[in-house]
């Protein structure tokens, strides 16, 4: 079923379907061509204010993280969200690129991220005489285990816990807002439809038929 047919099936009027198709034209082509994380650098975009377009351009042109930092972010991201039978890893979904953008966009992330990465390397140097990315996988995991579980982490690792919490959140944001992430989590909306309530089998499953 193509989009026009599905709109008809939903009982949308010709007018509304027409308007919608017209309005979505650019978006659909973009969506079709776009890789998971590629975002358009703006020309004149409808509904975007000139200062927003300018700002995005500047952010895309700037670089925040060093190559070494990006490498650490990539390793950490894939430790947090690895490839499994259902979907790819954080780096497959270009999460590191997203993190590079978002720290420029939301500068409050910058110092905790940069400082957190440095904290991690110093911890590794003290323990293993190597920076994080030069450590063996076993060493990396040994260190991550000390900061990934807030309730059982030692008090002296609290700064590492705070950093890892932030890194985990950014990785989840970056991963689950891609096509890969949508597919993984099973989100099936953002499309014209007719809402008629919770499907009967699900109402029954939760005993909600009469609520």
């Amino acid at each position: 079923m193509n989009r026009r047919d599905s709109l008809k099936a939903l009982g949308l009027s010709t007018l509304s379907a027409g308007l919608l198709l017209e309005a979505c034209k650019t978006d659909t082509t973009k969506t079709a061509e776009t890789a998971d994380t590629k975002t358009e650098t703006a020309e004149a975009e409808p509904g975007r204010q000139p200062y927003e377009i300018e700002r995005d351009k500047k952010l895309h042109a700037d670089k925040f993280f060093t190559t070494a930092e990006m490498l650490t972010i990539t390793v950490l991201g894939d430790i947090i969200i690895p490839k499994d039978e259902k979907s790819g890893s954080a780096s497959d979904a270009k999460v590191p690129d997203f993190i590079e953008f978002i720290v420029k966009d939301i500068p409050e992330h910058q110092t905790p991220m940069r400082g957190g990465l440095r904290w991690l390397d110093v911890q590794c140097l003290n323990r293993y005489n190597k920076i994080f990315t030069d450590c063996t996988s076993a060493q990396q995991i040994e260190l991550i285990d000390m900061i990934a579980y807030p309730k059982k982490a030692k008090p002296e690792m609290a700064q590492g816990v705070a950093f890892f919490n932030r890194m985990r959140d950014l990785t989840a944001s970056g991963f689950f807002t891609t096509k890969m992430g949508f597919h993984d989590v099973g989100y099936v909306g953002n499309a014209p439809n007719k809402w008629t309530g919770v499907p009967p089998d699900i109402l029954k499953q939760y005993g909600m038929e009469n609520v």
Binding site: T34, D105, K179, Y187, P192
Partner: protein, 577 residues
């Protein structure tokens, strides 16, 4: 010497309207359709939801994945504006924390609002407790206009026959989402009534209207609607009014003041054109302000003249005073029963599906008036912030193997947790009556101007024990509901945060700054929203409100603006304005 000059128009309009939101838009719509020549000045850019809405975009179409960096309610939200605008400051005094949201665009804040459309009831216009001033009008006087607004714009809801929650002319409401059924069950067990939401969204075709189509349930009203399936003043009022040929809009026109003659009669307005930065003056027989409660007060206070030394329409001194915003406090959690729930499209409508109208008797309570509760939750589209704080959730329920997990983590197990928790969360927010107080006000800051040289507003606003106790009650109610739902949630917000009571302004229901009343010594406007001191000046936004109920302001703005516009038509016939 700069080449700054004032460009005076020789044309005189019947009416000039400042602002294009719910109030200005409705007045323009009524007047233009009656053949009146109207000029509308909008301080922001042109905006047509059909072309400019970000509806149906996916998060990966935003480099920030929908984060609210430049737009406070997210990158796809419709509002051009925010809590702070470049070059347009406002100030506070006496440690006030007042937050002022401004949308600089055609249709104003109606492009992104929650579409929750509640009528104020008989006891909101005339309170039983006598604690606040009565409105100069009753519910029965406003009811016909609420009815007309319902028919003109379209609203969903259910007939409930509640005394202070008057029914309207409703389309069918959307059914609750799964999480909302749990909420309903939990609330009812706590003695809290839950009824279908009331929203300005077309769940059916709007009779007689060919420009708008029914909702297709993307749940994105906040982005504004390309098929005009919900109410924005841009799509439903201003753009149709322009099509009559009787209404002209000038965008990027930032109004400085209302001009008056020696007799104190309004003759037009002056404004800055933000594109060429020149000063303009336009003439009109009638001036209508619909710039928003605070902005309209600002314009009046800045319109000083010999005839109006304390600002226009301000011989009473009340302009800027009685500022009040709804109270707000919220809570949320997740439903462990809904882990691993089956997937389906649960986007629904972009306004609330269910809510709780105020249900208690104040005789048994330690605060006056009350609040309603708005609810939400479901399989919503992932966006920036998805899965945030999972370490606060995944240690609280057993994993797939039935064993408790250590909170936080990484790897395949964590990845699976994000899937498991998807769609299990919910939230609830109280929106309550704040008492209109003389001592909560905005005024002109004597020292600060914006980049156009217009003196800015300075806010003074303190919550009183009435509002703080109300927030405490909200928190207690939320705890009981969430307990009954079998939810997992954090404890109540306490005295250290005023029980989660939001800063005034945060709910964006600020009203009351140019109040109506029968007594010109105690009010700025008469019962037609006409200035006591200046008969050809009207205010049609939320500034005229005497005392807001717990109901969101928009539907009342629309009804009052329509009523005022019809009054202006009658007065024009009698040659009074």
């Amino acid at each position: 010497m700069s080449d700054l000059q004032i460009k005076k128009s020789s044309e005189t309009y019947d009416v000039v309207i400042v602002g294009s939101g719910a109030g200005g838009g409705m007045a323009g719509y009524v007047l233009a359709n009656a053949g009146v020549k109207v000029l509308m000045l909008e301080a922001g850019a042109y905006f047509d939801p059909q072309k400019d809405s970000q509806q149906l975009k996916f998060p990966w179409e935003s480099p920030r994945r929908g984060a609210g960096t430049t737009r406070p309610f997210g990158d796809f939200d419709a509002a051009y504006g925010g809590w702070q605008l470049e070059g347009e400051p406002y100030t506070t005094k006496d440690n006030t924390d007042f937050q002022w949201f401004r949308s600089r665009m055609l249709g104003g804040k109606t492009n992104h609002w929650g579409r929750i459309s509640l009528r104020m009831g008989p006891h909101d216009f005339k309170a039983k407790d006598g604690l606040t001033d009565d409105w100069p009008i009753t519910y029965d006087e406003v009811k016909p206009y609420y009815d007309k607004v319902d028919r003109l714009i379209g609203i969903y809801g259910s007939k409930e026959n509640l005394e202070n929650e008057p029914d309207g002319i409703f389309m069918a409401p959307p059914k609750p989402r799964l999480n909302e059924l749990f909420i309903k069950q939990g609330a009812q067990k706590a003695g809290v009534k839950v009824i279908p939401g009331r929203g300005a969204v077309l769940t059916e075709a709007l009779p007689g209207n060919k420009d708008r189509s029914p909702c297709f349930y993307c749940g994105q009203c906040g982005r504004s609607c390309k098929i005009y399936g919900d109410f924005s003043a841009s799509s439903c009022l201003v753009i149709p009014a322009v099509k009559t040929g009787n209404l002209k809009v000038i965008t990027n026109a930032m109004v400085r003041e209302v001009l008056t003659n020696k007799e104190g009669v309004a003759t037009g307005v002056s404004y800055v054109n933000k594109e060429d930065m020149l000063e303009y003056q336009v003439n009109a027989k009638t001036v209508i302000l619909g710039a928003s409660a605070a902005e309209s007060a600002r314009i009046l206070l800045n319109s000083r003249s010999e005839a109006h030394p304390g600002g226009l329409a301000n011989s009473s001194g009340v302009v800027g005073r009685y500022l009040h915003d709804s109270t707000g406090s919220s809570a949320g959690g997740f439903l462990p029963q809904l882990l691993d729930r089956k997937r389906y499209n649960e986007d629904g409508a972009g306004s609330v599906h269910i809510y709780s109208p105020w249900w208690l008797d104040n005789k048994k309570l330690d605060f006056p008036r009350g609040y309603h509760i708005e609810y939400g939750g479901g399989l919503h589209m992932p966006s920036y912030g998805f899965g945030s704080g999972i370490q606060n959730m995944n240690g609280m329920v057993p994993g797939r193997d039935g064993k408790m997990k250590e909170a936080g983590g990484y790897g395949a197990g964590l990845k699976d947790d994000y899937r498991r928790f998807f769609g299990a969360q919910f939230g609830m927010a109280g929106r309550g009556t704040a008492i209109a107080r003389y001592d909560n006000y905005c005024e002109i800051d004597p020292q600060v101007v914006d980049k156009y040289g217009i003196p800015v507003l300075r806010f003074h606003y303190k919550w009183a024990p009435d509002e703080i106790k109300q927030a405490k009650h909200m928190q207690e109610t939320f705890q009981e509901i969430m307990h009954n739902m079998g939810a997992i949630y954090a404890g109540p917000q306490g005295a250290d945060t005023n029980y989660g009571l939001e800063a005034p302004g945060k709910i964006i229901h600020e009203v009351g700054t140019v109040r109506m009343g029968d007594d010109p010594k105690k009010s700025a406007l008469n019962k037609w929203c006409q200035a006591h001191d200046c008969k050809n000046l009207f205010v049609v936004d939320a500034a005229p409100f005497v005392q807001q109920g717990d109901k969101n302001a928009t539907w009342t703005i629309l009804a009052l603006s329509m009523r005022t516009a019809e009054y202006i038509l009658q007065e024009r016939k009698k040659l009074n304005v």
